[in-house]
Symmetry: C2
Subunit: 422 residues, 2 copies
């Protein structure tokens, strides 16, 4: 792992795959076919892309029960406990409607309403993570979304992975369809005979899913398009290289484009961590992936002091940040940009991926400068409330009409003034 | 104004102008030119599109003072009072960082941080509204954004409208540049010698501005692209047709594609309001615009009862909703989808445009189903906090490692387990 110098151009940004013209055209064609042919198009594409011939897309109660019986019981228990932790954390994010009445009797406020419905996309194959099901579904549940729909591509045997079904059932999803790709996104956005449309679509997917989400955005809401995973570790002499190296590799194994960075004022820690990374890489089942990620997007920055290390982290705005220093909370206070901050020796990043409670859907590619973890607000919307009193009206009608006329909007002025006439 | 029947396909959706291929190509070319040539490109485009030859783009203190001296003093006072109301309302939206510690000593939380910087676009010409300056800038101020930048195209005399400068100064903007169009958006996103880049861009603009915002999205955050204005009035026999008609026309005068809708169980109210609209249209300065909007996008729906009227409104998800009925709060509780809700006779919609305090940047085109008024959250982001205790670690390490291995992520399991080894 390279020990590098701090430069003004530090960035975790990697180019975003925005698809080829052919891919975009293919996605548009699929969306169009689903809009005009509905279910028939879904069955056709599922046969074409997933090699699965289905009679019906909706997952049955019998399939859920079968999934439980196939799935390791001790992991089912872990998923239940994780779901409880995630639910508890997200409940703290829930905000109520509020109003206040000022002295002249005018009531103002903000009404909070859950979305009517949400759709969660779950990728197929090795990326079918039960933990992602929990992280996408539970914030919507906490928000109070009544209808939560899950879609996921079936295997050639026409089935979904047991872990995905178990997690969905634990999270309380009652509508699951065996359909994936751009066709599933189109169905969620526009509806078919079987699948009623939803208001918002979240969840990761391949380039076709990402392009389809971009395409339907505006007609429905979508979450952000996630980039490759990132971790930055901010550590001083009090931290242990063996633990830092293990955490850096836990991100690196995700993706050859994942980024793992250590920022430290300690030359000794830098060198020992570099050696540990090399040592631990050997023998990882996903060694080839992790090694490529470390070589291309891994870095160790040695800084003058802790303050410069904090500056580097704020510049990177990493998805995950671990702070392993003396007086860690004092450091955390000076962090402005990071998706999730893991503090102290026992907060290894995977604890957040699976179990602690905060969401693992986090802003990547430097967008932690302006974006947030997936949260309950993402599944609610606000409506402003204005109940003007007669007294407030009489005090302000002339001012408001004058302001409207200044902007050249006479009908605005007259609308307010219409109340002056009995 | 047509009295129509309620059908299952009711919608306020109008096609969104997504630009021509030529417009998109022009915008891409402008952005590229600003990225490579910086200020020089801005001066060139300002000369080309705004016929203004500038030596310097930044508005000086002398120009601000001149604006105050030119601008009607009584409107300056109204703007100050409106700014105070808007500031006060948005302060109620401000959320603090929170943490909690559970019984095994684990601390979890959510850190709230304002964006470092925000850019506000203000259109030129007749659409240069001082009220929009307040509504875009003040939520960012309340959030605690340190650097707020305003851009707006100058007139051929090289100046910005006095009202825009006065409103910007009252709102506390300290960095204003005379540059508009796609070139201004490019400068805000990528920076030039004079204009440092920002993290988020908000504010309305023409099709070139909208396309440029779409283009830079991802590198910076943007607000939603607003569609034409909408109002729905939900009224019963207790409401006055003369006031309803005036409010419907206040939206219709904005734009030939604005939508004004009355929903009422009262046939009498429907007929009298239709007649009033006709009467009040005559003699409006913007009569031609308002008449076109009413003809194409205006409608009166007579419903069986109040509940059906509520259902219609929820289906429309209007930007603005007025509720003028008996027991109005009871009706408001059943509204799920609306950007801003104006309750009672004295809450004429323009009061919210200018003065009451809630934001006038609202979701249009049915997006109130999932979107919110511009608010303080739009200028802050969340970071999750996780400080796991040794006790919690020991209790859960094996479960977390098992979950990770189930997902095929061995390095995740090893990262957690690394803490078990001394």
């Amino acid at each position: 792992m390279k020990i590098q110098s701090v430069t003004p151009e530090l960035s975790l940004k990697r180019s975003v795959d925005s698809g080829t013209d052919e891919q975009r055209a293919a996605v548009q064609k699929i969306i169009q076919a689903v809009r005009s042919d509905g279910d028939a198009a879904l069955f056709t594409y599922t046969k074409l892309f997933d090699q699965a011939e289905l009679d019906s897309m909706r997952v049955t109660q019998a399939e859920i029960e079968e999934a439980y019986s196939e799935f390791p019981e001790h992991i089912t228990q872990v998923i239940k406990e994780a779901a409880e932790n995630i639910f508890t954390f997200h409940q703290k994010q829930l905000r109520e409607t509020w109003t206040y009445t000022d002295q002249n009797g005018t009531m103002l406020g903000q009404k909070m309403t859950p979305l009517d419905s949400a759709g969660v996309y779950v990728p197929g194959g090795t990326a079918a993570y039960p933990s992602s099901v929990l992280m996408n579904v539970l914030p919507a549940k906490v928000a109070g979304v009544k209808r939560i729909v899950m879609v996921s591509p079936p295997g050639p045997d026409g089935r979904l992975p047991a872990g995905v079904l178990v997690a969905a059932d634990i999270a309380g999803v009652e509508e699951i369809y065996k359909v994936g790709g751009a066709q599933a996104i189109a169905a969620l956005a526009y509806g078919t005979e079987t699948i009623r449309p939803v208001d918002k679509i979240t969840g990761p997917g391949n380039i076709y899913v990402a392009l389809a989400k971009r395409e339907v955005f505006g007609d429905v809401d979508i979450d952000m398009i996630a980039g490759p995973s990132e971790i930055a570790v901010l550590a001083d002499e009090s931290a242990r290289p063996v633990e830092i190296a293990a955490d850096l590799l836990s991100q690196a194994e995700h993706d050859t484009r994942a980024s793992s960075v250590l920022v430290t004022p300690s030359q000794r820690l830098a060198e020992e961590t570099a050696a540990e990374v090399e040592r631990q890489l050997a023998g990882l089942p996903r060694e080839a992936i992790a090694r490529k990620a470390i070589e291309h997007y891994g870095a160790i920055y040695v800084t003058r002091d802790i303050q410069e290390a904090i500056d580097v982290v704020n510049q990177l705005a990493p998805e995950h940040l671990e702070v392993m220093t003396e007086n860690a909370m004092n450091v955390v206070e000076r962090i402005r940009h990071a998706g999730a901050i893991f503090i102290g020796r026992f907060s290894s990043e995977p604890i957040g991926d699976y179990f602690a409670g905060p969401n693992h859907v986090l802003p990547t590619n430097g967008t932690a400068r302006f974006s947030s973890p997936l949260n309950v607000d993402d599944f609610m919307k606000k409506s402003s409330l204005i109940m003007y009193s007669e007294q407030a009206f009489n005090e302000n009608v002339d001012k408001i009409a004058a302001f409207a006329r200044l902007e050249g909007l006479e009908a605005h002025a007259r609308a307010v003034e219409a109340r002056k006439i009995k």
